[in-house]
Point group: C2
Chain length 349, copies 2
Amino acid sequence: MGNTPPVGRKVTLSDIAAGCDVSRATVSLVLRGSPLVNKHTRARVEEELRRQGYVYNRAAANLRRRTSSSIALVLNDLANPFFAEFAAGVDEILGGTGFVTLLGSTGESTERELAVLGSLMEHGPAGIILSPAEGSDAQQLLSAVGSQTPLLLFNREVSGDVAACDHWDRLFLDNQRGARLATEHLIAQGHKRIAFYGGHQGSSSCRQRRAGYAEAMQSAGLSVETNWVVECIPNRLDAVAQSDQLFQGKHAPTAAVCYNDAVALGLMLGLHQRGLQPGSDFALTGFDDIAEAAVSAPPLTTLAVTPRDRGRQAAELILQRVRDPSAPPHQTVAPVHLLVRDSSSPPHA
Amino acid sequence: MGNTPPVGRKVTLSDIAAGCDVSRATVSLVLRGSPLVNKHTRARVEEELRRQGYVYNRAAANLRRRTSSSIALVLNDLANPFFAEFAAGVDEILGGTGFVTLLGSTGESTERELAVLGSLMEHGPAGIILSPAEGSDAQQLLSAVGSQTPLLLFNREVSGDVAACDHWDRLFLDNQRGARLATEHLIAQGHKRIAFYGGHQGSSSCRQRRAGYAEAMQSAGLSVETNWVVECIPNRLDAVAQSDQLFQGKHAPTAAVCYNDAVALGLMLGLHQRGLQPGSDFALTGFDDIAEAAVSAPPLTTLAVTPRDRGRQAAELILQRVRDPSAPPHQTVAPVHLLVRDSSSPPHA
DNA sequence: GGGTAAATTTAGATCGTTCTAAAAGCAAGG
DNA sequence: CCTTGCTTTTAGAACGATCTAAATTTACCC
């Protein structure tokens, strides 16, 4: 009784079958909790599973069943806390449903993005959650992932022939409304000369936020001077560097809606360097509500986007799509929520 | 000529073989770039691969070859920027070597940790990088991952019967030396009454940092009052809440070595609330060099741990182990690097 | 005990690859 | 034309699970 587990090789279902003198089929049924198998047989098999330390080989099962138990998560910048939170949310949901997360980070390079997707596809994920690198091309993405695997586009639109990707689901933030809320808030505080600071023309989220800003300004009958809309790379460093541009024209703004929190925090530093006190001498708002926003000096008025919730939502959406691949594609716009803190006080009298 | 690709099913090697009238074996050789196959045959096969849009099924290949092309990355807190950077570093290296990253986030729960490991093991990773949840038990972990799969323990020691896990590789930060450097720096600035603030007795990294602090104090012949060593949950919120404890005894400290940056930033807020100006009225240091440390007011003196480099290193280490499973286990201690900023000025005269 | 239905078990093909061992094709030399 | 040795191709059995269809056992009834 009780032949020992195999050495240097993993224990398989056949080992268990041999070990308690039943067929492989029976062991398989036990593993999947089938009601077909007799109580006593089940007990014997389960004992043997424990005894030999069996671990299920899901790859083999997936091969036979032509199924998949993984979801690919491809992010343009995992090191960014926004995406890290997002990833944590995705994994939280997937972990609970037996799916495993295949991670890929592209570091904002479209080239690496294609390579990463190609490599992940070889593992046959049931679906893909993609936050594309800036400048990703629809056609190229499509040829990398094929048309069989469901894909959820998160956070950014892709460029090129978007019609080719009609069948992809989408989850975006309500960028336009967010920027509009921020702008309206500054207007309500009494500001009239309001800038839009930072971000890249090329990015869809930047265009949307600018649109929301423009919309609010127009509704309030306020004009926008050309030097009030300033581009910069959306990080703190470049935000400091470009901040002088805001003060080039003859009418300097008294407030700015910033592309995101990183830019806003950079602008704060830039203001300090000009001898302006952010909050009291110049009002500003951010976007994202990163951890730092609550503790900056002054605390930053911003738009909360709850990335962890978005991650959970993205996971739910892709799972839904995996379950029903033929349903019509779905586009979701997630609400954002204005958090008023001290950085957006009224202008000086 | 040119039968169409199959519908609703993935293109397989057999489809290609049939499509250009060679055997499956030949196609397999072409895929792997074998020199055995004739130039013209290779060209024909490659054309057919493109034509049908073939994608390699690595799971099937792994099954046959009894190999694996994935590494599991299990983190106690993915949302923490430190680990997010770490993950980015890991993925950067793995992506370049054909391995894919299986992600698992445990949210600091040992229960979830065991579940996640169990689920990941079913996908047969070639190796595991684990940053354990606080309180993880060596025995339990061992029984979840078995003794076949190489594991690299990152950042924290596990509790319980550590001898059972002798064969695991380890990558730790030089916590003790880091805390010693910070303490010595404060001493060199002229401080004599220095506290150690924050962290949990239960965590190995906290014990090591305290040891480094104690070592430096002792070497300098400085005594440590009991109320100068204060525990708190290592986040900003609890750090604010517990900060009063530092000032209970009759000799209040003039400086503190903090468990990490989050705690230090919290303590800064706590100091403000007591009417003390961090940096000038009270010196402090952090640990980690999170993004915020460089831009806090005042900028925080801290220990840079370069988490992305650690991630790269962890990936290299586990790959090395996968290539040579029989080499003796290896323990690596990564250096940390003191960054002096404005928060650690000399005491008042 | 024989017959029938239900419960339980199983042999063997299969998923998409790789590997082994051998077969087939080809050129050159006798 | 037959060997010999090289290059190129291939049939068929793996890998570890599942599934189908059928076989076997058990239970029950007359």
